[in-house]
């Protein structure tokens, strides 16, 4: 890493934890003016968190951020703005009830005599749009725009300040190839003007095309900081995943024969089209894909959490009509959602209350038999070695990994025959992961059919008998046996070798 001139932006020993979970460990990076840094890493590696620290949305637990060689304190969005830092966040950051120019200038309004100078703002908006080669009236309401148009507005909003440091968190996920090209051309222009760009993407090709250097993160740590020219796409994927798989994953079982779940033609308007999948008893089906590829929606549609417009679901050979989660639970399906805190657990309930929430009827004799629920919770506490004093501890006091185990217990207590796990190890440490993997194996030994949705490549590879790869709401291909490897999955997920792989997959499915 040569330093030809003084660093415009420097991060020194950045640490960040949320509660007990450490998300970033000792991050050190130094960037010069006009440099484009690509940031790669699996979901949850800490990329967004790092950039949010630079833009003042989060605060580092320890460490320093320097701009122009001086340590700065970035308290909030306005102090970031004052330093010339602008961010295009991963989630949309626009006010739907305001129009394009009002959003672009939000918090940054131009005024004349104290009142808004709408004319100048409109004019500037138009010239920004011209720069972005986008046709967009400055008075259009945000709620009427397409996803790509919104993204353009986000970009314009970041540019309007003449930022020196521009942060883009997966800006191209929702853009078409042409729109992305416009953006890349723009980044080149900004680069020429000396703007430093930090760029997160899961698309290896575009990182290769755009960036000078690459920062590859794994579990909150920097695993590589290299010139792009020194890495090819395969290296990148290897570095991102890069863990020895052997100790973590148990040996796979043989997998059963009896068809447990058979989904055909599943369609949810605008999100999923014609999804077909099968799982057998004692088998693990992996579902891989990039963010937004529709894996979660697939699970939700099966579980009756989303209204499907078409599709048939068979459970153990019987066609069932699942209209609500209650129906799904009745048919012995279980779904561990990806959002443990948002849709999984009641944080102010204790272990036994959480674990028996769905299966409460089992513990009822008129009134709830609290003793029985506690005994049951105690059973799971031992089974999963959940680290907590008692089963009466509220969930907030548990670490993320232990919460995840409680969540798993909650669904296990419904005694499911078909279990869908969506990102079952998100945000949990390696050891807990291992325990969960072994537990999944035990389940398959008992003949339970398991679907694992995961963005962690190695997880899918290590667990699944078959892997279904999704892209843009469709099944892009299916892999099994020796074909299950990072490369094949990456290529399918990113749509790189569509032709070849889909042929391949079709052959397999037939």
């Amino acid at each position: 890493m040569s330093k030809p001139q003084t660093a415009l932006l420097e991060l020194r020993h950045i640490h960040k934890s949320f509660g007990a979970v450490q998300v970033l460990h000792d991050i050190n990076v130094s960037l010069v003016a006009g440099e484009v840094l690509g940031i790669l890493g699996e979901n949850g590696a800490g990329k967004s968190t790092l950039l949010k620290i630079i833009s003042g949305i989060y605060h580092a637990s320890s460490g320093e951020v320097c701009v122009d060689g001086k340590v700065v304190s970035i308290k909030d969005a306005s102090s970031a703005k004052a330093l010339g830092i602008a961010m295009i966040p991963q989630e949309f950051n626009l006010i739907p009830s305001l129009n394009v120019f009002e959003n672009i200038f939000l918090g940054n309004e131009l005024k004349r005599h104290g009142w808004l100078d709408k004319r100048t703002m409109r004019e500037k908006t138009q010239s920004l749009m011209a720069l972005l080669e986008t046709q967009l009236p400055s008075d259009a309401m945000i709620e009427d725009l397409s996803v790509a148009q919104k993204q353009m507005v986000e970009i314009a909003k970041a540019l309007v300040n003449d930022a020196r440091i521009l942060i883009m968190d997966e800006p191209t996920t929702v853009l078409t190839a042409q729109e992305a090209d416009v953006l890349f051309a723009l980044v080149d222009k900004l680069k020429a003007k000396g703007v430093t760009v930090l760029f997160i993407s899961h698309k290896l090709k575009e990182v290769k095309r755009l960036c000078d250097r690459l920062l590859i993160m794994r579990d909150g740590e920097v695993v590589a900081l290299e010139k792009v020219s020194e890495l090819d796409e395969h290296d990148m994927a290897r570095l991102m995943v890069g863990r020895e798989l052997s100790q973590v994953f148990p040996a796979k079982t043989v997998g059963g024969q009896e068809l447990a779940l058979n989904v055909s033609g599943l369609t949810v308007p605008n999100l999923l089209s014609d999804i077909n999948l099968q799982v057998h008893c004692g088998e693990v089906l992996g579902i891989a894909g990039l963010m937004g590829s529709g894996r979660t929606e697939t699970a939700e549609a099966i579980m009756g959490l989303r209204k499907r417009s078409q599709g048939q679901i068979e459970v153990f050979g019987e066609v069932v009509n699942i209209k609500s989660l209650q129906d799904a639970v009745e048919h012995k399906l279980a779904y561990l959602s990806e959002d443990r805190q948002g849709s999984g657990l009641i944080m102010n309930f204790d272990l036994s209350e959480n674990i028996t929430l769905i299966s409460l009827n089992k513990y009822k004799k008129g009134l709830i038999q609290h003793q029985k629920t506690r005994e049951r919770a105690e059973h799971y506490r031992k089974l999963f070695s959940i680290k907590t004093e008692t089963v009466s501890t509220p969930l907030v006091n548990l670490s993320g990994g232990n919460q995840q185990k409680v969540y798993l217990s909650k669904w296990m207590d419904t005694e499911p025959k078909i279990l869908i796990l969506d990102e079952p190890t998100r945000g949990i440490d390696v050891n807990t992961k291992k325990e969960i993997y072994h537990f999944i194996r035990e389940l398959t030994e008992q003949g339970i059919a398991v679907i694992v949705i995961s963005s962690e490549m190695e997880e899918v590879i290590g667990l699944a008998h078959r892997v279904m790869v999704m892209r843009e709401g469709k099944v892009q291909g299916e892999l099994c046996g020796a074909d299950i490897n990072e490369q094949q999955i990456m290529y399918l997920a990113a749509g790189l070798r569509e032709q070849q792989d889909s042929n391949n997959a079709q052959g397999k499915r037939a």
Binding site: S324, A328, G344, I346, N348, L357, I358
Partner: protein
């Protein structure tokens, strides 16, 4: 000087009786608030049910049968008016505070309309004994308050429904991802509140043997919410206890009684009530923070 009177048994029974009307409603409100809602219409609803029940009573004539029928009717009316609140909130996706602000206005206005703003007086000679009577030297409304508190506690802590109420109020999404019919759970909390209002309406109207449509239950929502919040139930939903509410109601009653005995202007009671609500809410916020 205050304490001189305060501890005499008669004063204690008195405070308990004064507290029991809003206390009974506060039991129902506890469910609504734990589920994440609020019901501002309880004060108007008690007036409306009170007026209707007394009118029914006068229509039915004298005797215990009439009284029994009227009591049944008031519970049914409570269910109906509570269900209206619940339906608007659940089906119309209207924030509970605005839905019940609207029905607060509607119920009060109907009360005034039906009674032509005039006091409605019961002619049933047995009715006053219901709310004015004693059993083992303790006023009936106090017994009822305690009885309902026990039932409320059983439902909240020891039934699946109670568990679901807490889950819905804590995190509705988690609840719906746990196969709980959140609309049904939320809706029923308003019905429960309605039932308690119906019962309180009987107690209040029989105690006074009449209902004054303009001021019966006026500002009850404040007393009721204050009792619930002092009792430790979080206004953002998810947790709370029935016994907390009972204690909250009694504390509020004692504060009012003390102020009265100390000769503090009764007009300041509204200030005290408002401040008590604020302090209780702020303390909860403080607690959540640490």
């Amino acid at each position: 000087m205050a304490s001189e009177h305060f501890l005499i048994p008669r004063n204690i029974t008195n405070v308990l009786r004064q507290v029991s009307y809003t206390g009974i409603i506060a039991l129902g409100m506890t469910f609504v608030i734990i589920a994440g809602g609020i019901d501002l219409s309880v004060g108007s609803m008690i007036a409306l049910i009170g007026v209707l029940v007394v009118m029914l009573l006068n229509y039915l004539g004298d005797g215990w049968t009439a009284v029994t029928l009227a009591i049944g009717a008031s519970v049914v009316l409570g269910v109906i008016f509570g269900a209206i609140n619940g339906l608007i909130t659940v089906k119309g996706r209207v924030a509970a505070f605005i839905a019940t602000l609207a029905t607060m206005s509607v119920y009060r206005s109907l009360t005034l309309y039906i009674s032509d703003a005039g006091e409605v007086v019961s002619r049933n000679t047995f009715y006053p004994e219901v709310g004015g009577g004693y059993w083992l030297s303790i006023p009936i409304p106090v017994w009822l308050f305690l009885g309902l508190a026990i039932i409320g506690h059983l439902i909240l802590r020891h039934s699946a429904y109670g568990r679901h109420v807490c889950a819905v109020g804590s995190n509705a999404k988690v609840a719906s991802y746990s196969a709980i019919n959140i609309n049904r759970v939320y809706f029923l909390t308003f019905v429960i509140a309605g039932i308690t209002v119906g019962i309180a309406a009987v107690m209040l109207s029989s105690r006074l043997n009449s209902v004054s449509p303009g001021d019966a239950g006026l500002f009850y929502e404040l007393d009721v919410i204050a009792a619930v919040v002092i009792g430790g139930t979080s206004l953002s939903g998810g947790k709370g206890t029935i016994w907390g509410t009972v204690i909250g109601a009694i504390i509020l009653g004692i504060i009012n009684n003390m102020l009265n005995l100390l000769g503090v202007s009764p007009y300041l009671q509204g200030t005290v009530k408002g401040l008590v609500i604020l302090i209780a809410v702020l303390m909860q916020f403080q607690k959540n923070r640490t």
